[in-house]
């Protein structure tokens, strides 16, 4: 059973995010970065399946600058067997389509039975890349799964997904792609021997050239969607305390809701 987990390094959830000066990106100074939490569910599921099957390899793959290696190494410490780091200056400014193209090229170098993605990365929240890769690779996929059972012969799987008011249970042939939701499992912590071994585990670095992708096929120039403006939420103004007894306060509230908030 060969399993790939595509991961993204994102700002830590508690980070104070502010737009960069040009409003086209976030200001990364002083931010700390983590593995996208939804991707961690994918990694945990991959490790569980490998343990259950008793054989196979778990490969983590990420696109990003040098710093991304930290996220990959974290995954190796947790238990992944090998990592692939795709980096190329030409990737700067790429949209989700280009990212999907590049990941597809890397994934097609091997035969994976299962490919996991997080349901979305908590930075851009686009939730597009996993599904996009499924399309490019012509593989079946189930998005936003919260339970997965792999058949004993490794050929089929049953995926569960939460829908409004119920659960959907989907039979799917492997190989397939899944994007992971948080109820899927509880990600484990890295053991100390795991952390110490992480540095010795294989880390392959691919450039676009290694993946036979032309540098002008990706990047800001080729982006079909571009970010126009990033702005922080509007600052909340202070609340108003209404004076008087209950009757007066309610009258004042109704008036304000009607005249100021204009909700009716």
């Amino acid at each position: 059973m060969n399993i790939a987990v595509c991961i993204k390094q994102v700002p830590a959830t508690e980070s104070k995010i502010r737009p960069s000066a040009d409003g086209k990106d976030i200001d990364r100074t002083g931010l700390s970065f983590v593995v996208n939490p939804y991707d961690e569910f994918g990694l945990e599921e991959a490790l569980k399946i490998k343990e259950q099957v008793g054989k196979g390899t778990v490969t983590v793959i990420s696109i990003g600058e040098d710093k991304t290696i930290e996220a990959l190494r974290t995954c190796l410490a947790v238990g992944a067997d090998q990592a692939i780091h795709i980096k190329d200056p030409a990737l700067s400014g790429s949209d989700t389509h280009a990212i999907a193209l590049v990941l597809t090229a890397a994934l097609q170098k091997e035969n994976y039975d299962i490919i996991f993605f997080g349901k979305q990365a908590i930075d851009n929240d686009s939730g597009a890349v996993g599904i996009h890769v499924a399309e490019l690779m012509n593989l079946p996929h189930v998005a936003v799964i919260n339970k997965l059972e792999v058949s004993p012969d490794d050929k089929k799987a049953v995926a569960h997904r939460q829908i409004e008011g119920g659960t959907e249970v989907i039979n799917i042939d492997l190989p397939a792609i899944f994007t992971c939701q948080k109820e899927l499992n509880v990600p484990r912590y890295a053991s100390l021997p795991g952390i110490m071994k992480a540095k010795q585990k294989p880390m392959t670095i691919y450039s676009l050239n290694d993946l036979n992708i032309a540098t002008d096929a990706v990047g800001a120039e080729k982006a079909m969607i571009t970010l126009d403006q990033l702005s922080p939420p509007e600052k909340r103004t202070a609340g108003t305390a209404l004076e008087g007894n209950a009757g007066e306060a309610v009258t004042a509230l109704v008036r304000l809701l009607h005249e100021e908030a204009k909700i009716f």
Binding site: S191, P193, M196
Partner: protein
């Protein structure tokens, strides 16, 4: 990889990283555990780093270390509620070429990861986000550590405790006793962002010149402690540091004291319009020489704040002592390895190095300062208030003849000062700070 290391270090602050770097460069296998998300993420200091030891660890450090400004100006201010009298020293000799006067403003969240990376590049294994809960013992000798992770028991010939002021492991090992309030200070600090040009204009700086200013008296409610502002490139480190006793006596919390400091008329204008980026608080081991615990045991060394190496006199020096102790511990272990003797006796060279260096010499010289400060509270409240009151009388313009003003001042001084007591107190001050 063998499961046993030559040295396990707890804490990747300046002392731990200094030791790790020195050991790794000498070819020893070193593992460093850091409880924070990354080295430095849990650490704090006022803001000025003295670098003579850093230069030994990393020659030409100024070419690569994440430093802010080199300090060319020092300022000591005495404050009453509405007045300020200050002494400022600026020296062009401190502004010539790196390493200038071996003092730089810096931010620990940048400096500590950099130094840890130097150790990592030299071959040390740094493991963040990992708490060490206990030491491993065998026949009364420390043989490793137990980290809070699955498979967390790691053996090592020597363990260095660089886990800071509140070192639980030093306490567990029996080397350090419990603290009393009067040997600890608490600091609260904000990083306040201002445009570079504004900082330079407000503080009279050019280029990368920096200022270290310390403020005493009413700005910190007359407590045994000080307020400080250190200039970084595009931020100010603004904070207060006072003895825990003072906070208890005055029934004031560190954050309120910091607000009081920031709102003093003389300080307010310096930080006006700035945006607070970070808030941090930390304990400082200010007990001085008499609080330094035993620092050597069989297979165990204490460094940095864990060993209480902070010079709380005018110099407010801790990081430099931390790096020095880390360096000395590492040198001692490298020697001990040649004889394969990591017993207390085999490691005793560490204490000798500390005693022969500024680390213990300075702590010894200033051994009375902490006691002096706690027994002479008048130097932090009554004397500054009186001095500023007198200065105000002296400079107030009116039709009163100058001779009368001066007579009134003498009267005021006579009524408020008890000459004998003042002389005794001044003498104690001299002895505490200036005798050897």
């Amino acid at each position: 990889m063998s499961d046993k290391f030559d040295v396990a270090i707890v804490g990747a602050g300046p002392s731990g990283s200094a030791a790790a770097l020195t050991l790794a460069k000498a070819g020893l296998s070193v593992v460093v555990f850091e409880r924070g998300e990354f080295p430095g993420s849990k650490n704090m200091f006022g803001g000025v780093l003295y670098t003579p030891i850093l230069e030994k660890l990393v020659p030409n450090f100024w070419e690569e270390a994440p430093l802010e400004r080199h300090i060319v100006k020092r300022r000591f201010g005495l404050f009453s509620e509405f007045s300020e009298a200050a002494f400022e020293f600026r020296c062009e000799d401190f502004n010539q070429k790196p390493p200038f006067n071996q003092s730089f403003s810096a931010l620990r969240a940048q400096f500590d990861p950099w130094l840890a990376k130097k150790a990592e590049d030299a071959g040390a294994l740094i493991i963040p986000e990992t708490v060490v809960d206990d030491l491993l013992w065998k026949d009364g000798k420390v043989i490793g550590v137990k980290a809070r992770r699955e498979g967390g028991e790691i053996e090592a010939d020597v363990v260095i405790l660089a886990d800071g002021v509140n070192s639980f492991l030093a306490k567990k090992s029996g080397l350090r006793k419990d603290f009393t309030w009067n040997v600890l200070a608490v600091a609260a600090k904000e990083i306040i962002a201002l445009p570079r040009g504004t900082i330079e204009d407000r503080f009279g700086l050019e280029g990368d010149e920096g200022l270290a200013m310390e403020c005493f008296g009413d700005v910190v409610a007359g407590t045994v402690g000080a307020g400080f502002i250190y200039t970084n490139k595009e931020t100010l480190s603004v904070g207060v540091a006072c003895s825990i006793n003072a906070f208890i006596d005055k029934k004031i919390v560190p954050n309120d004291l910091l607000e009081r400091f920031k709102n003093h008329p003389s300080i307010r204008r310096l930080i006006r319009g700035g945006e607070t980026l970070e808030y941090a608080g930390h304990m400082i081991p200010e007990g001085g020489h008499k609080q330094v615990p035993e620092v050597i045991s069989d297979g165990l060394l204490l460094v940095g704040d864990a060993a209480h190496f902070v010079n709380a006199s005018f110099y407010h020096e801790g990081t430099n002592l931390a790096m020095a102790s880390g360096l000395f511990a590492a040198e001692t272990i490298i020697e001990a390895k040649k004889k394969d003797d990591f017993s207390q006796r085999g490691l005793k060279g560490y204490l000798k190095k500390l005693e022969e260096s500024f680390v213990l010499k300075d702590l010894k010289k200033y051994r009375q300062v902490e006691d002096w400060a706690h027994k002479n509270g008048r130097f932090f409240k009554e004397y500054p208030d009186l001095m500023l009151d007198v200065l105000k009388d002296y400079f107030t313009v009116s039709e009163t003849p100058k001779s009368v003003i001066q007579q009134n001042i003498v009267k005021k001084l006579r009524s408020q000062l008890k000459p004998l007591r003042t002389l005794v107190e001044l003498n104690r001050f001299r002895k505490s700070f200036f005798s050897s």
